[in-house]
Symmetry: D2
Subunit: 353 residues, 4 copies
Amino acid sequence: MMNKLAKVGVLGASGYTGAECVRLLARHAHVQIELLTAERRAGQDLREVFAQFSPLALPKLVAIESVDWAAAGLDLVFCALPHATTQKVVGELLAKAPRTKVVDLSADFRLADPAAYARWYGQAHQAPELQGEAVYGLVELHRADIVKARLVANPGCYTTSAQLALVPLIAAKAIALDDIVIDAKSGATGAGRAVREAMLFAEVAEGMRAYGVGHHRHMAELDQEFSRAAGREVIVSFTPHLVPMNRGILSTIYVRGARDLAAGDLHALLAKAYAGETFVHVLPFGEMPQTQHVRGSNMTFLGVVADRARGRAIIGSALDNLVKGASGQAVQNMNVMLGFPEATALEQIALVP
Amino acid sequence: MMNKLAKVGVLGASGYTGAECVRLLARHAHVQIELLTAERRAGQDLREVFAQFSPLALPKLVAIESVDWAAAGLDLVFCALPHATTQKVVGELLAKAPRTKVVDLSADFRLADPAAYARWYGQAHQAPELQGEAVYGLVELHRADIVKARLVANPGCYTTSAQLALVPLIAAKAIALDDIVIDAKSGATGAGRAVREAMLFAEVAEGMRAYGVGHHRHMAELDQEFSRAAGREVIVSFTPHLVPMNRGILSTIYVRGARDLAAGDLHALLAKAYAGETFVHVLPFGEMPQTQHVRGSNMTFLGVVADRARGRAIIGSALDNLVKGASGQAVQNMNVMLGFPEATALEQIALVP
Amino acid sequence: MMNKLAKVGVLGASGYTGAECVRLLARHAHVQIELLTAERRAGQDLREVFAQFSPLALPKLVAIESVDWAAAGLDLVFCALPHATTQKVVGELLAKAPRTKVVDLSADFRLADPAAYARWYGQAHQAPELQGEAVYGLVELHRADIVKARLVANPGCYTTSAQLALVPLIAAKAIALDDIVIDAKSGATGAGRAVREAMLFAEVAEGMRAYGVGHHRHMAELDQEFSRAAGREVIVSFTPHLVPMNRGILSTIYVRGARDLAAGDLHALLAKAYAGETFVHVLPFGEMPQTQHVRGSNMTFLGVVADRARGRAIIGSALDNLVKGASGQAVQNMNVMLGFPEATALEQIALVP
Amino acid sequence: MMNKLAKVGVLGASGYTGAECVRLLARHAHVQIELLTAERRAGQDLREVFAQFSPLALPKLVAIESVDWAAAGLDLVFCALPHATTQKVVGELLAKAPRTKVVDLSADFRLADPAAYARWYGQAHQAPELQGEAVYGLVELHRADIVKARLVANPGCYTTSAQLALVPLIAAKAIALDDIVIDAKSGATGAGRAVREAMLFAEVAEGMRAYGVGHHRHMAELDQEFSRAAGREVIVSFTPHLVPMNRGILSTIYVRGARDLAAGDLHALLAKAYAGETFVHVLPFGEMPQTQHVRGSNMTFLGVVADRARGRAIIGSALDNLVKGASGQAVQNMNVMLGFPEATALEQIALVP
């Protein structure tokens, strides 16, 4: 595999996460980009959509319908399409080219229970027969399953941030489960490139707001993964916010230690859990992360501070929503699935500043 | 009083809150600005510090030491000096000119207990004899006392935001007291104009961070006011964050209803508490405020949403930290103290956008 | 007129310039807002479009077609509709209610020559019979005509900025006419609230770009006004840029003095031209304006600096594109047309900061 | 050289350009970072200054005075110190370790004429004996000299942007020399990390300003290089502006074609000049670059558009001031000086977005 370049494609290359996949893949030592799709931009070059690709030689954008999956012979496809259209596309792709692997960046294969999907997304699952084989692709927590997977559901940006901070603590029964508050703040690219009035520069700049309060879809993913880790149902309080910046998610998480565990104990647990990981870094006890320190990188920085209220701790989790929160994690999944060194093409350090 | 203009002064006019006082006072129908001080800028015009005042005729900046308080005959002074220097200045001012009233924008007179001041600020209170007469100047909650006050301690920006949302609920015993989480986000002007590396544009833009986690000084003020409202000690979980915007504070507050009260009940309580207020506006149930909608105005917008976790509610509180969170509230205090209509000079609607 | 409030309407109140008109008019001592229109939002309250109006009592939004102009009996209407739809609407309005005055914020009545309109806007003028009576509403330059006007064409934001700097110099034959470069930078609200991918937060933040290079429609307006001032055709080099900020236009203008006039002479000419004006302020020679100093105000700040290249000067012109560049100027026009003090409702000083 | 890692040091690693060098060098296949200096931070880890380096193993920060240059045996040193202190440091370094090569990111060795240095910087050159051997390090224009150099003066960010656009045109006598206007816009990191009130977030955000109008030090460098290319003295009109963004320079350049050359001819000349270059990309005729498309990359994008004024063209030049405008170019210089492939460690594509 190291001698021959793997052939990869990116579906939805004109969106932010699709283009970010291209940005990372174009400098990847072991892959060759063979296919780029973009419905409304079919026939154009990617440089007409994102001029930074202007100096690169890349395949022209095509429509998905025009692709002959069997003939394409791709080793792996990144699917960066909108929610709800993905299940059908992946179903067709795998029917025609069963040896192609898929990393799906949408939410379409993240919920193991098709009924939960229907409830949160308001429509029936379009490929329930594939859902069973889909592996939830948070590498640090599910690496062993990802190695063997054909179809990986890349996690959401908010949920990656919250899970990396909380799953080891929940699994270790180290925190109270009915008292978890996750206050999450995201940059504007988290909303994707869909054209909406609320995402205009002048509506976002010089201000801040919460949204989806009380009923954000990412809750379904959090519920599933936290409950799986706890072995019982866990319902957290989760509020996403929009911050006037392009990239970055900061989750400020309020927890109460279980079994008399103090903040320092929680920090020790996290430090141990991630001691061997390249892309999760636990700061010294008492330090909180900031999104600037991970921008443009595939890192998640975690910090733990003792609250003055006895028994409570505050955990900070920072990542770049387009990298570790989306496309970087997708490439990390590919590296695991295809047997490349896990950090390939993902070693960029955060911009200064 | 309406026929003759009141004579006012602003100490510390070269900082953000001082200059914002000047901005509001320069268009106030019932006052005349007679004195502006700024230590390092003494001898200059305010226009050399903030060019927007260039077209206005204003007194030159002088050093505080050069002011003859008795001769100045000021009706009221706004004190926008750094914490710790204020107690001494106000002590001297009131000794020389006992009929001058003072609105102090620093933290120096906010803590009723000098021992609490010493504990949180690391030095003895310099004017304990004045602390007894100082009135805590959150107008909507303490108007009756402010009417009669000579010395008003203008509340902090974070604490104004949190108190307006929580004090009526705490006083009504409507929420659990040991389970309150306040996740607060502020624009950069909240840090004042002091020159620090961490506040450079490039350190703040395109990122977000928590700070003072676990031990921020505003906690002392929150403890005092929440405990006063509750009639017992209340210790909340409070985390301030820095957001890449100039103005605005958004507090996202997580509470649990007491006595089986649901989110809708909390909303009704707040709506009733502020029904007659000009500067606190409770949004319809289920809507959350955003800082854009109060920027440049003296308004606080409050919103209440039901959390999906049973019995929990999420409360949003948005204000402009330089107006309702500082200088606007100071002018509002002055209006109350000098008998002017409370909204004078404060009717500006938030910028669009 | 001072005893009875004038009845005014705002067409297109759900856009930025329309809403900004409402913001200013709501605090205007001599007018009453009687009508607000917004096609897609008809039936809603303005607070559903811009929440900052939530505490105010305002008329509901209606569709233009539903308005009975004669019955409405409005004294003046602000027309903040998209280019090209305005001519028809104003034509119908004045046909039905010939005593209503109109301030039009679109480009539809700015070009005196209907042929020029057709050339630059790609369609025939829809109300050529009204064009003849339209007055170009740059108050400082055409006040005498505006006093008598029924229909005023409010100037563009870029062109206001450039004209205030250049028209007095051109009229005085003080600068070379074939060597004028205007490099203009605008905040994002200059593009209005139309929903376009290029105006998403993430497409504008953390970057800068020129646009409309070589062929921007504002050139038509500049050509007309500069040529009128010069008494001959003047074609300037004009490049607009988009800056990641909400409000503000900064024009940096490169000129060469005529008749051996140096930069200081140009400064003296401008200072003299605007000596009696409230809303144009000429900074001391050698100082350049910045947009922060006019944000939220109706001011234009002008500055003149000597270039090191002999005979050349650099002129800076800063204004808030939504105030002096649009809605503030519209209100200023109304004040002149209806005989109110010109600065009414426009005295707000720029935010600090 | 490819088998053994070159040993490099970075002086001034706690500033933006120094840290950006570290960011690039840490992922460079052919170098090992052996030395990092930072006067006020000596004894600390770089992670305490820039937390993004937290996961990396890097040498501790030391004071320059403590370095034994001979013993250090460095192959190359990046000098990212403030102007004026550099000449002395480099003089001492090369005296003790004459085989070490130096890339200096300050302005101290950019002006070939020590008298010009004294005139523009207000003090005598401290190492005139070294100035003679210093090579001006704009790689695309002076590669042949850089290959052989021991001491390279890395160009300024503004001047790199302007020279890449103009030097080929000036050298080809394709444009009029007395009529060049360069209107340049820079992000805030261009001012470095020095702590100044004018660079606070709240002083920069939501606004724009020109600075150094008529007398910016970068003019000396432009004069030198443009005059060298022209074979006669060239004095351009150059105005730098501060834009509320972290990274990026956009130069909008107004020129007049010489010898009846039109904008298309100028474009053809530039396209030909850079046809073989990796880091300068000429966009199709009629397109203008934007800084977003080069952010975080070592690219310069150039665009040429015809002005409507006959014979005039508008040229856009965009780069990232910390990469191609500083540290990326410094690494590019090192690659040339040490014989590495020129693009090593510089292949990162601009962030999306």
